[in-house]
């Protein structure tokens, strides 16, 4: 196809356009027109019905609210259950924070079973990132453990604590108590005997020291 100038092209375009509009110009049938107009009317009716229903519903709701709200409640009485729930949560959390005995020395047998499990779940993180204050507190409480005379008196909170106590007992050369403590530790935290346990190496080392004495 040869390149033509714009003027030549515009001339062709004018010619074709004139020729085109001289020819037949089909239009949609009347039935098609009617169908489309009917749909347009129906859409408006549906739209207005929807809006009317919506406004009627809103009006009904407003009237109902006006009728039933005879007494104007104060704000805090409108949200009583939410406020009471929040207060309960705050109270429980506060008790847990304020009372360390509830955290460290469970009194019931159920707590004895639950606490080691809870500590066990958290122990990998605690083994790595225990803050100094927490570790000091454990040692302090662990130092009280060597004073126990029977296995039943021994209370181990976590494998970490157990290992620390064993180290302390070994340092103090309290071998009998160390052996008993070691047995309780193995009973309460048998997973410490597995190689993949983070405290396994420390456990094995202190165990060897204790058992070879």
């Amino acid at each position: 196809m040869t390149t033509q100038s714009d003027e030549e092209f515009l001339a062709i375009q004018d010619e074709i356009v004139n020729l085109y509009h001289k020819g037949p110009q089909p239009e949609p049938s009347e039935s098609l027109d009617s169908a489309i107009m009917a749909q347009a009317k129906q859409q408006l009716m549906t739209q207005s019905d929807t809006e009317a229903n919506l406004s009627a519903q809103q009006q009904l709701d407003a009237e109902l609210t006006h009728k039933t709200n005879v007494v104007q409640l104060k704000t805090w009485r409108k949200y009583t259950w939410q406020i009471s729930t929040a207060a309960s949560v705050i109270l429980i959390v506060g008790l847990l924070l304020v009372n360390p005995m509830m955290q460290q020395q469970p009194t019931s047998t159920d707590a004895d079973e639950i606490m080691p499990m809870q500590m066990d779940i958290a122990e990998p993180m605690q083994a790595e990132m225990a803050p100094a204050s927490v570790a000091a507190q454990r040692l302090k409480s662990a130092k009280s453990a060597p004073q126990a005379h029977t296995k039943d008196d021994i209370s181990i909170v976590s494998p970490q604590q157990g290992v620390e106590v064993l180290n302390e007992l070994a340092a103090q050369q309290q071998w009998q108590q160390a052996v008993e403590y070691l047995q309780v530790l193995e009973q309460q935290f048998p997973q410490i005997k597995q190689q993949q346990h983070p405290l396994y190496q420390q456990y094995i080392e202190i165990k060897q020291i204790i058992l070879t004495r």
Partner: protein, 208 residues
Amino acid sequence: MTTNSSQLFAGNDKLSLAESDLSTDEQLMLAYQSGDIKAFECLYKKHKGPLYRYFIRQLKDEALAQDLYQDVWSRVIKAAANYQVNAKFTTWLYKIAHNLIIDHVRAVKPLDDTQALGEDQTMDDFMATEATEPEVQFQQSQQAKTLQHCIDSLPSVQKEAFLLNVELGLTASVISEIAQATLEATKSRIRYAYQNIKTCVSQQYREA
């Protein structure tokens, strides 16, 4: 129709969407949105012819053309409730039409993928085919018939660009937006469409 010529390669003809600049189409659509059925009727009457011919000229199947035509208006009606003036109404309308043709026709590679007449085809074949269409009038001039045959022979993209230009006077810029093609590609399509039609018509006259 000299206005088409000057507008063919015009630059930016995007509608200014300031409310004061809204053309009649957008105002009619907004009026229909507000509940004015007469506004829609006016809008429909203005666009029904060109839109109908947009489908009829591109499709061999008249029933399909009518279905798609009605589908376009159905979508316009349903969209009226949320209609916003983001573009010219015409551009929006024909984008819908274009996409419907793309979805329903070009995906299955129908007969409208026409090329120039093949070696074993003569104008008599088309004459016979077109003679079966109910809208064909015996009184139609031979030139108009020939023209229509030549339009039918165009590749689909050229045919669409040609129809939008000749029916509505749309510029290449607007057509490129409707057809989702580049401006340069659209300009080429329009140019080649007219040149092909001219060549085809001249050839038919010589053969006649």
